[in-house]
C-alpha cells in the first residue's frame, strides 16, 4: 500500500471518530433537553473541548498530507472535503454545546404544550438522523444516501419558519411563557443551522466521490 493510502486511511478513521463524537454530543444534548438532565448537559459542555481538539488534529494532519504527498485527483478531493467536513462538524459541536448551555441555565423543564406546538422534538430527531446519515454515507461511500439528506432538511426549515408565528400566537395568550419561548426559539434556530451544516457535509461527500459541485445549486435537478 502506498504511504499516502495509509495516511488517508488514518485520516478517514479520525474523521469518522470526530463524526461519532459530534453525533454523540448532539444526541446527548437532545437527551438532556428531553429529560431536563443538567448533569448530562454539563457533560456535553465539557466534551466540547475534545471536539475542538479533534478539529485541530485533523486540520494539522491534512496540512501535513498536502505538504508531504502533493495529493491529486480523488485524494485531493478527499482532503479538501475532509477539511470542510471537519469545520462543519466542529460547528455542529458548537451548536450542541449551545443547546446544552440553555438547559443548564433554564429554570424549569419546557412545557409539553410548547414542545408540541413548535414541533421541536421531530425537528431534533431529524437533525440527529441527518447527521447519522452523512456519517454512514461517508463510511460506505454512498452518494445516494448523501443526497437523501437534502430532502430531510425540508422538515427543519419548515419548523424553523413556522416557530416564530406559533410562539407569537401562544405568547399573546400566555405572556408568562415568554422566557421559555425565547429558549425554544434559540434552540430551533440552532437546529436549523445544524441542518444547514449537515447539508454542506453531504455536498462535500458528493464532491469527493463524484467530483460534482452541488454548492449553491438546486440539489434535486
Amino acid at each position: 500500500m502506498a504511504q499516502i493510502e495509509t495516511e488517508l486511511q488514518l485520516l478517514k478513521t479520525e474523521a469518522v471518530n470526530m463524526w461519532t463524537l459530534v453525533n454523540s454530543q448532539l444526541s446527548k444534548a437532545q437527551q438532556a433537553f428531553l429529560t431536563f438532565d443538567k448533569d448530562l448537559a454539563r457533560e456535553v459542555v465539557l466534551k466540547e473541548k475534545r471536539v475542538n481538539g479533534n478539529e485541530l488534529k485533523i486540520d494539522r494532519d491534512c496540512e501535513n498530507i498536502f505538504a508531504l504527498f502533493c495529493p491529486v485527483a480523488i485524494d485531493l478531493r478527499f482532503l479538501l472535503a475532509i477539511l470542510k467536513i471537519n469545520n462543519n462538524l466542529e460547528r455542529i459541536g458548537d451548536y450542541a454545546e449551545g443547546i446544552a448551555k440553555y438547559i443548564i441555565d433554564a429554570e424549569a423543564p419546557f412545557s409539553d404544550e410548547m414542545l408540541k406546538m413548535t414541533s421541536i422534538l421531530p425537528m431534533y430527531e431529524e437533525a440527529v438522523n441527518m447527521l447519522e446519515d452523512t456519517q454512514t454515507a461517508f463510511e460506505k461511500e454512498d452518494t445516494i444516501l448523501a443526497r437523501r439528506v437534502f430532502k430531510k432538511d425540508d422538515l427543519l426549515d419548515d419548523v424553523n419558519k413556522k416557530a416564530h408565528h406559533v410562539l407569537e400566537v401562544h405568547l399573546t395568550a400566555h405572556p408568562e411563557d415568554a422566557s421559555q419561548a425565547l429558549w425554544l426559539l434559540s434552540i430551533i434556530r440552532r437546529l436549523e443551522r445544524v441542518g444547514d451544516q449537515t447539508k454542506n457535509i453531504a455536498e462535500e461527500i458528493i464532491f469527493y466521490l463524484e467530483a460534482k459541485v452541488l454548492k449553491h445549486r438546486n440539489k434535486f435537478v
Binding site: 502506498a2 499516502i4 495529493p71 491529486v72 485527483a73 480523488i74 485524494d75 485531493l76 467530483a211
Partner: protein
C-alpha cells in the same frame, strides 16, 4: 480558436516485433505545452521520437499511421526538414563539448551547411540565448566551451540550440531529470516563456512537473494513449481508472 499543429491518426510504432505505440490518435494544439506521462516502457518516449522521425534511426524500428505537422504528413517530408521544424531537447544536457557557447547555439546551421553572415549569426546567438534567459549569464564568455557551464545552464544552452533553428515545435524528453531543483525551476519558467512562440511537448516522469507546466496532459500505458485532457481535469478528475491509479501512486 486554438488550432492543431501536430495530429496523429492511428499511429503505431514498433521495434521489430515489439509493438510499443498502439493506435495513437491525438491533436496537439499550437502554442501550448503538452505533457506526456506514463510508467517506464509505456511508449511515451518512442511516440515523442516518432514526431520528428528520430525513431526510424534505430535499426529495426518501424512505424505506420499518420503523423501530421500543419496537416502535412511528416513521413512524406525530408527528415532533415522535419527536424528543422520540430526540434528536440534530451534528458541529459548534451552541448557539443568541443564547441564554444557561441558555436553551440548556431551548430544547427553549421551542421546543415547553412552559411550566414557574421552579423546574422550574432543576432541569432543573442536572440536565442535571450529567449532561454541565458544571455546575461554568458554574454561575456561566448567563446568558452559549452561544457564550462553548469548542468542547468547547459540544458538551457541545448534549448537555445533548438530555438536558434526557429522550429515550430520543440520536443523535450525528460528535460529536467538530470537537473537540481533550482535549475529545474528555471527550465520550467522558461517553458512558459517559450510557449508564446513554440509548441512544446514534454515527456516527463515527474507528475508534479506535468501538473505545473502543461496545458494538456496525455497518459500512456502499455503503448496506448489512455487519456488526453486539460491538465487541470487530469489532475483533479481523471476519467479513466488507470490514470487515477497512476497519478495517485496506486499503480501495480
Amino acid at each position: 480558436m486554438e488550432s492543431t499543429i501536430i495530429k496523429s491518426r492511428n499511429f503505431n510504432a514498433s521495434f521489430g516485433s515489439n509493438h510499443v505505440v498502439r493506435n495513437v490518435n491525438i491533436d496537439i494544439p499550437r502554442n501550448q505545452i503538452v505533457a506526456v506521462m506514463g510508467p517506464s516502457g509505456c511508449g511515451k518516449t518512442t511516440y515523442l521520437r516518432c514526431i520528428n522521425r528520430m525513431h526510424e534511426l534505430i535499426p529495426g524500428a518501424t512505424s505506420e499511421g499518420e503523423m501530421l505537422l500543419n496537416d502535412e504528413d511528416v513521413y512524406k517530408m525530408h527528415p532533415i526538414f522535419v527536424r528543422l521544424k520540430i526540434g528536440m531537447v534530451f534528458q541529459r544536457p548534451n552541448p557539443f563539448p568541443n564547441l564554444s557557447i557561441y558555436d553551440n547555439v548556431i551548430a544547427g546551421y553549421k551542421l546543415n551547411g547553412i552559411k550566414l553572415p557574421k552579423a546574422e549569426r550574432d543576432r541569432i546567438v543573442e536572440h536565442s540565448l535571450t529567449r532561454v534567459a541565458l544571455w546575461s549569464e554568458v554574454r561575456d564568455s561566448l567563446n568558452k566551451k559549452g561544457s564550462f557551464l553548469s548542468g542547468g545552464q547547459q540544458q538551457r544552452l541545448c534549448i537555445a540550440r533548438a530555438v536558434a533553428m526557429e522550429p515550430e515545435v520543440i520536443l523535450f524528453d525528460e528535460p529536467t531529470s538530470a537537473l537540481d531543483p533550482i535549475s529545474t525551476s528555471t527550465v520550467e519558467e522558461l517553458f512558459h516563456e517559450l510557449k508564446a512562440n513554440y509548441t512544446l511537448i514534454v515527456v516527463t516522469h515527474n507528475m508534479q512537473q506535468a501538473a505545473r507546466v502543461s496545458d494538456k496532459t496525455a497518459f500512456f500505458f502499455l503503448g496506448e494513449l489512455v487519456e488526453y485532457d486539460e491538465t487541470r481535469t487530469m489532475f483533479t478528475n481523471p476519467k479513466d481508472n488507470r490514470t487515477q491509479n497512476y497519478i495517485t501512486g496506486r499503480f501495480s
